[in-house]
């Protein structure tokens, strides 16, 4: 007999205000935030805590991964 199918709904449109209005930056931020909710990065044996990222094409600007509670959504200034 075939297995029961475990199905899950996708809600692409149902998203609150983004942290960054640049959709491609926001996509990377979301992916990293989601990932950091299920893994802990390590360097060698040591756990590493990260809270931001840079794009390889622009090492001047740092993007926050996590929205701070007191911050309004929308484009954050560079840290």
């Amino acid at each position: 007999m075939a297995d029961y199918v475990f199905r899950y709904r996708l809600e692409v449109e149902d998203k609150g205000e983004p942290i960054y209005h640049d959709p491609l930056v926001e996509m990377i931020r979301e992916q990293m935030e989601n990932l950091l909710n299920i893994v802990i990065p390590v360097e060698g044996q040591r756990e590493v805590k990260i809270d931001g990222f840079k794009l390889l094409r622009d090492r001047e600007r740092i993007y926050n991964i996590f929205a701070k509670e007191e911050e309004n959504p929308g484009d954050l200034f560079p840290i």
Binding site: Y4, V5, Y8, L10, E11, M27, E30, N34, I38, E69
Partner: protein, 532 residues
């Protein structure tokens, strides 16, 4: 095509599914998928190979049959399901029973007790499994795969002679029978059970069928406290008369979603109930526990965490050997057991072993006694398969001293000097006592501040530490920082995040968010959830 699963169900136990959902949604905001040159609109995804989704599991049979508990045929005045906040990670998945059966059958196909593996579980709605039309069918299929006891919680409405005879074919079975009252009138009123006689009359039938059971009572002060206590007395006497294995009193509580108004004074109801139970214990043979057990311990016991016996299962090896309520266990087979967890661990090992005898030394009213137990000397309601501690009942699990060693390791790893330890109202007195007695934290430069966060999320009179959420911790720590120096480390017992192995609270938020929210290192102290 079967229904969509509720993602919130998966989020606690298998957050990788939630991760996939979020990643796909994130990608689909910036790209369209194509097939044959045409854009394909997708609205869901499915797991491909279920064998890839196996996880390590204790393979408790309830992991399968609990998926039958999606409905209830009672409407209890105190039902905690009515007081669940909307964001708690309980699915609201109502599917046809046939579809639920298909899921349970697939879960059974991937249920591997020998390999200790099973499909990821989920936190579903916990209602009345026994009323599911396919419940017995699922139990029969389960029995082909495991000899482990089926521990079934039931309101007793289906416990007719016929059902009990079917259950008896599937032993070992242990029932938690939510009787609540042995009075037909009161049970009808408390549980809106139109036919209360079935559950009430099931006690002698269960005994006849050799199925041990606990009688579960929520002492809800529906009229007056004195009427409630009188009914409690009668119900316990009825359970005792029919050789129940255990009487479990679940002290009543409610969240703000259950009632925004104060329904009763918690300390008055709990205090009076526990005081009454302590008197009843002296007159009753069946053991009685009042949960959460630490409430009684905090009220009455100056020295906590001791292996003192509060009850003995009828006809158990411990009862037949002459152990008494009130005895303080000193040694088991010559091994000193200064704390309750140590005693419970040794008794559990003996229970699982092939040993035929055991020796238990006790302090009885100041006198030392040694008693020999014949581990083969027992009969109903005790059984080797469903009991854990040779028939000895304690005032709860207690606190393992090894947790203090775990705390010491965390503090040392962080070289912390000021630690904020977030405990609970119930656990704090025991934890404080153990901390004071331990020499692990003698360094005078070290300060451990033990605080108890409020349960804002559930509200009402809920004050269990294990029901605290990420947001409760963040709110409390922020308040703490307004009045106190910033600690260099925050330690939280892992129990509010123990439902799965992924550190989620009851709404699915990961504990890591606390550190992100307050900017101070947060570590979880690994410890077991205390269910009693």
């Amino acid at each position: 095509m079967n229904s969509f699963q509720d993602i919130r169900n998966a989020a606690l136990y298998e957050p990788r599914i939630e991760f996939i959902k979020k990643q796909l949604e994130s990608l689909l905001r910036v790209v369209d998928l194509e097939k044959g040159g045409e854009v394909v609109q997708v609205d869901g995804f499915r797991l491909k190979e279920l064998k890839h989704w196996l996880v390590s599991s204790r393979c408790d049979p309830a992991e399968v049959f609990e998926y039958a508990s999606t409905r209830c045929d009672c409407d209890c005045l105190f039902c905690y399901n009515k007081g669940n906040p909307p964001s708690v990670a309980l699915g609201n998945l109502r599917r046809p029973p046939k579809e639920e059966l298909e899921e349970m059958k697939t879960r059974l196909d991937y249920f591997f007790p020998k390999a200790k593996q099973g499909l990821f579980s989920s936190l579903g709605e916990i209602y009345e499994a026994a009323m599911h039309p396919h419940f017995l069918e699922v139990l029969r299929l389960l029995r082909e795969k495991t000899e482990k006891p089926f521990r079934i919680t039931t309101n007793g409405k289906t416990l007719t002679e016929e059902t009990i005879s079917h259950l008896a074919e599937l032993k070992p079975i242990y029932l938690y029978l939510s009787l609540n009252s042995a009075s037909a009138e009161r049970r009808r009123r408390l549980m809106r059970d139109r036919n209360p006689g079935i559950a009430i009359d099931s006690l002698p039938l269960l005994k006849e069928a050799g199925i041990p059971y606990a009688v579960v009572i929520v002492p809800w002060p529906v009229d007056s406290l004195s009427q409630m206590l009188d009914d409690l007395t009668d119900t316990i006497a009825y359970a005792d008369k029919h050789d129940c294995h255990l009487v479990e009193i679940n002290l009543p509580g409610y969240s703000q979603y259950f009632s925004s108004k104060k329904l009763f004074d918690l300390d008055e109801v709990w205090g009076e109930t526990v005081s009454h139970i302590r008197k009843l214990r002296a007159k009753t043979t069946s053991p009685i526990v009042a949960m959460p057990t630490m409430y009684e311990e905090n009220l009455y016991e100056e020295r906590k965490n001791l292996p003192q016996i509060i009850g003995l299962v009828k006809n158990s090896p411990a009862q037949r050997a002459g152990l008494n309520k009130g005895d303080l266990i000193l040694e088991i087979n010559g091994i000193s057991v200064p704390t309750r967890p140590q005693a419970r661990d040794l008794l559990f090992m003996l229970q699982q072993s092939d040993n035929r005898q055991a020796t238990i030394a006790v302090d009885r009213e100041g006198k030392a006694l040694e008693l020999k137990l014949d581990l083969n000397d027992f009969c109903y309601p005790y059984s080797r398969e469903t009991d854990n501690h040779l028939g000895i009942i304690f005032m709860g699990t207690g606190l393992r001293l090894s947790y203090l060693e775990g705390l010491k390791e965390i503090v040392d790893a962080h070289k912390a000097r000021h630690v904020l330890f977030l405990s609970s109202t119930l656990m704090k007195p025991t934890f404080k006592q153990c901390l004071t007695q331990s020499h692990l934290f003698d360094d005078p430069r070290l300060r451990i501040d033990i605080q108890v966060p409020r349960n804002n999320f559930f509200g009402g009179n809920v004050f269990m530490g294990d029901l605290l959420l990420v947001q409760d911790f963040i709110d409390f720590i922020k308040e703490y920082l307004e009045k106190n120096a910033k600690p260099d480390l925050i330690v939280i017992p892992s129990s509010p995040f123990n439902l799965g192995e992924w550190g989620r609270d009851l709404t699915g938020r990961v504990y890591l968010e606390i550190e992100r929210g307050v900017g101070i290192p947060v570590e979880l102290l690994q410890c077991a959830t205390i269910y009693d």
